[in-house]
Amino acid sequence: MGRHRSSGRRPQRYKDVTHGRTGRGDAFRCVACRLDVPLVAPGTAHRNHCPHCLTSLHLDRRVPGDRAAECRGRMTVLSMSVRADGEWQLIHQCRSCGKLGANRIAGDDNPLALLRLALRPLTDSTRPIRALLTL
């Protein structure tokens, strides 16, 4: 529900990543919850995380899709970010080397997990009061 949805969506980069190493071709298995996830996702051409537990895998180095990272560690979700056009974006952090990555949410991501993540900073009730006191 982006505020600037009418201005047109940014075209997505063409995805030329092969998933040959998994041996399945059209699916990958989540490293955290072992869910079999199809590669096609509603709303995005760049699914990189499990729609159930939002966990990802550290495969890319600098450019998304380059598959150049030797780490291959588990990337757990760290926080929720909002792009300028209002799209939600997950921030992942590699548990093995600490690298950060961002990926848009997909249409079939678990809404409860997403909302729980988005509400995480607001569970500290003292901070909004401190913000009001600075006024």
Binding site: R61, E87, L114, R127, T134
Partner: protein
């Protein structure tokens, strides 16, 4: 990020409290040490930072562009971390927040996802 030292910083090398840097966005001159005694890497007023450390390769970065705050991360102990994104090369970094950081901008970033939810939030009331 520390972009340069003032004359007062050079005159007192033993006292880092007088070392300052200028914010690349709002131009505010801030001390490199926050009130808690830790080294800061972003402006306490606008929370913008500067890309001087390369976290992919390690070591100093050649980019040097401005980094804007994009997200609040909560650690296990309840502390907040600030996630920055470089506006030039899109690298992400995270840093701890300082006690004198602008609380209004922090809260604004924390509630930002709820202002534009991708699905209707009313459904969650029935769960």
């Amino acid at each position: 990020m520390s972009t340069g030292t003032t004359d007062s910083g050079r005159n007192h090398p033993a006292s880092p409290r007088v070392d300052t840097f200028g914010c690349v966005r709002c131009g505010l001159t801030v001390t490199t040490v926050d009130p808690a005694g830790d080294r800061r890497n972003h402006c306490p007023s606008c929370l913008h930072s500067r890309h001087v450390v390369d976290h992919v390769e390690g070591g100093p970065s050649e980019c040097g562009a401005r980094m804007s705050p994009i997200s609040i991360a909560v650690l296990r102990n309840g502390d907040w971390m600030l996630v920055h994104r470089c506006i030039r090369c899109d690298e992400l970094t995270s840093s701890a927040i300082a006690p004198d950081d602008n609380q209004l901008i922090l809260i604004r970033m924390a509630v930002r996802p709820l202002a534009q939810p991708p699905f209707p939030l009313e459904v969650f009331g029935e769960l």
